[in-house]
């Protein structure tokens, strides 16, 4: 018995050491970048194999924050928040509504539309990138946030799919009981289903926010006024001319750009696993 216990404890210890070490290797590049943001550029080059900086110095952050040509990173962060925030709100709300339609209602051509949704989910963005650009251009939207944000308000395939799977996991008796009580189907959605699919909503929100925050192609295509740049794109503009000259400042801004999504992920990751698990993706 005692032998079994020690064996279990050694097993546990080995497991943790291994998992921890492997995790360390995985995030080493990231750690290196974060630490690099405290080093000056010569130190980054001279002691590339070292992880810890000789001292924690925030100069890089001060320099980097100045941005370029008078546009500071404060502007870019504000823009990213607006873009990612509004897009996320749009995507989460519209996707849950559409998902309810697919999961709980029976209507003509439903399977056709469901198929369309799957296709839309899998369609490479680049295919429609060019004509979309031309369309938005005709509408006079180029140069604004509209082409980036508005499409998010019409449901996003992946999130719709996620919500459908989640809603299907909720016993139908709940709806029926409410229906017997005289609730309309819209009321059922708002009052019964919506509160129950919180994990799916949160999961969609996290993914949506992260994707929009990182997204760089849309900004590259549609925005040209530096006042409107999100962080993702500003970082490229900042990095290109700075490349080779001030890696420290670049690391600092790259690190800052990751902070918001990192924070969101840390606080919400519990819901994330739950949300994905609930979809029963395994079929």
């Amino acid at each position: 018995m005692k032998n079994y216990k020690t064996k279990r404890i050694t097993g546990k210890v080995i497991y943790h050491i291994f998992t921890f070490l492997f995790a360390f290797i995985m995030i080493y590049p990231l750690l290196w970048m974060v630490m690099g943001s405290f080093k000056d550029t010569t130190e980054i080059f001279k002691s590339a194999q070292k992880l810890l900086p000789s001292s924690f110095d925030f100069t890089n952050y001060k320099i980097g924050w100045q941005g370029f040509a008078g546009y500071t990173f404060a502007i870019f962060f504000k823009n990213s928040l607006i873009i990612a925030g509004l897009s996320t709100i749009g995507a989460v709300i519209s996707s849950s509504i559409v998902a309810f339609g697919f999961a709980r209602c029976n209507f003509k051509f439903k399977s056709l539309w469901f198929g369309c949704m799957l296709v839309a989910m899998m369609l490479p963005f680049q295919v429609i990138m060019i004509p979309q650009y031309i369309l938005f251009n005709k509408m006079g939207w180029v140069g604004t946030y509209l082409p980036i944000i508005v499409p998010q308000f019409f449901g996003q395939g992946f999130f719709i799919f996620l919500n459908i799977q989640f809603i299907k996991g909720i016993p139908i008796d709940l709806d029926e009981a409410a229906y017997m009580d005289g609730c309309s189907i819209y009321k059922i959605f708002v009052q019964i289903i919506l509160p129950l699919i919180k994990p799916a909503l949160v999961t969609s929100a996290i993914f949506s926010f992260m994707w929009r925050w990182d997204d760089f192609l849309a900004a590259l295509l549609y925005l040209s006024d530096p006042l409107k740049y999100p962080v993702s794109y500003a970082l490229k503009m900042f990095a290109d001319p700075t490349a080779g000259s001030d890696w420290g400042a670049m690391f600092a801004m790259a690190t800052l750009s990751l902070l918001p999504i990192f924070f969101i992920f840390l606080t919400m990751q519990k819901y994330l696993v739950e949300g994905i698990a609930s979809t029963g993706i395994k079929g």
Binding site: K12, Y15, F18, T19, F22, M26, I27, P29, L30, M33, G36, A48, S94, I97, V98, G101, C105, N106, F107, K108, W113, F114, C116, M122, P124, F125, Q126, V127, M129, I130, P131, F154, I160, Q165, E176, Y179, Y186, M210, W211, D214, F216, L217, S232, L235, K236, A239, A254, S257, L258, I261, F262, Q269, I276, A277, S278, T279, G280, I281, K282, G283
Partner: protein
């Protein structure tokens, strides 16, 4: 599809409201319908139309029939080159990423006090996605005077390889990046693993199966639907990969990292050959569509659905 199974049940009990339900259904999916028609179908049709034209953005498109497709398939060596690069990238990055994701998921399926922490840490590389930050980092890691070489040096290997400049290794830096960002597949595997009934393992252990046998006899077959889902997803996103090539390597050296999508973008915007770009887009749609179709057709052979057993 699974959604159909819920409907007959409803028909019996709520059959009388079929009419209003038919309407309500459309009300609910209305946002999707509008978005689908306006932002997907219309652009797709436009792009299809453009693919038969010479359209340099600045002037009106002129109809040239199949010329774009013919040039593309017969007279553009770069087209095949970039197509090959993308295939190579997908062929190696997708399976390796899935294997990595599965290994880590198996590691983390065990529930301990630190599970949340581990999950977050392993997911971390993925949250930075294909952002510019990662491009900056990757350039520095694989530079001739960068971290990888410095680390190699400290363990006694003298390397001055310019990983990003060498035409044999450059594409692998991008593949490694893809493997490194295994997070979302890992989470999906994790949830799949948690749904494998424990009773199956217990009875197998009683029968005297060892760990490896249990993995191949139980875990893997039970996971095939999850693997299938991940595979489809990753293949599509592999073919769509753009930012890595666009900002980390710019296709260098010698176009060995020039992805199909980047070449398509260059044709459309840099060289102002929109019609040609659209033709390239359609070629990709057809190709990816074909692969997806093949995978769906063959899934009966290897994907194991629990519901079928019942």
């Amino acid at each position: 599809m699974k959604n159909n199974s819920a409907i007959p049940k409803r028909k019996k009990t709520l059959g009388q409201i079929m009419n209003s339900e038919g309407v309500a259904g459309y009300v609910f999916i209305l946002p999707f319908l509008i978005g689908f028609l306006a932002f997907i179908i219309l652009p797709m049709l436009l792009s299809f139309g453009f693919s038969f034209t010479r359209y340099n953005i600045l002037e009106k498109p002129t109809f040239i029939g199949l010329e774009n497709y013919i040039t593309m398939l017969t007279a553009d060596p770069k087209f095949w080159k970039t197509f090959g690069v993308t295939l190579y990238y997908v062929f190696f990055s997708v399976p390796l990423r899935l294997i990595m994701a599965l290994i880590v998921a198996m590691l983390l399926v065990k529930s301990t006090k630190l599970s949340g922490f581990y999950r977050a840490v392993y997911y971390l590389p993925s949250i930075i996605g294909s952002s510019v930050a990662v491009a900056i980092l990757w350039k520095r890691l694989f530079a001739s005077d960068g971290v990888i070489n410095a680390l190699l040096h400290s363990i006694g290997i003298n390397s001055t390889t310019a990983w990003l400049g060498n035409s044999d290794t450059a594409i692998w830096t991008l593949i490694i990046l893809a493997i490194w960002q295994f997070g979302s597949s890992m989470l999906i595997f994790l949830s799949g693993l948690k749904q494998v009934p424990v009773s199956l393992y217990e009875s197998a252990t009683v029968d005297g199966a060892n760990g490896i046998q249990r993995f191949f006899k139980i875990t893997l077959p039970m996971l095939t639907p999850t693997i299938f889902f991940n595979l489809i997803n990753q293949i599509i996103s592999g073919f769509m990969a753009f930012t890595q090539s666009y900002i980390i390597t710019q296709g260098k050296p010698r176009d060995t990292t020039l992805f199909y999508t980047v070449y398509m973008y260059q044709n459309s915007f840099t060289y102002s050959k929109l019609g040609y770009g659209c033709a390239m887009a359609w070629f990709m749609v057809l190709f990816v569509g074909l692969i997806t179709l093949i995978l769906f057709k063959t899934q009966n052979k290897w994907v194991y659905y629990e519901s079928e057993r019942k």
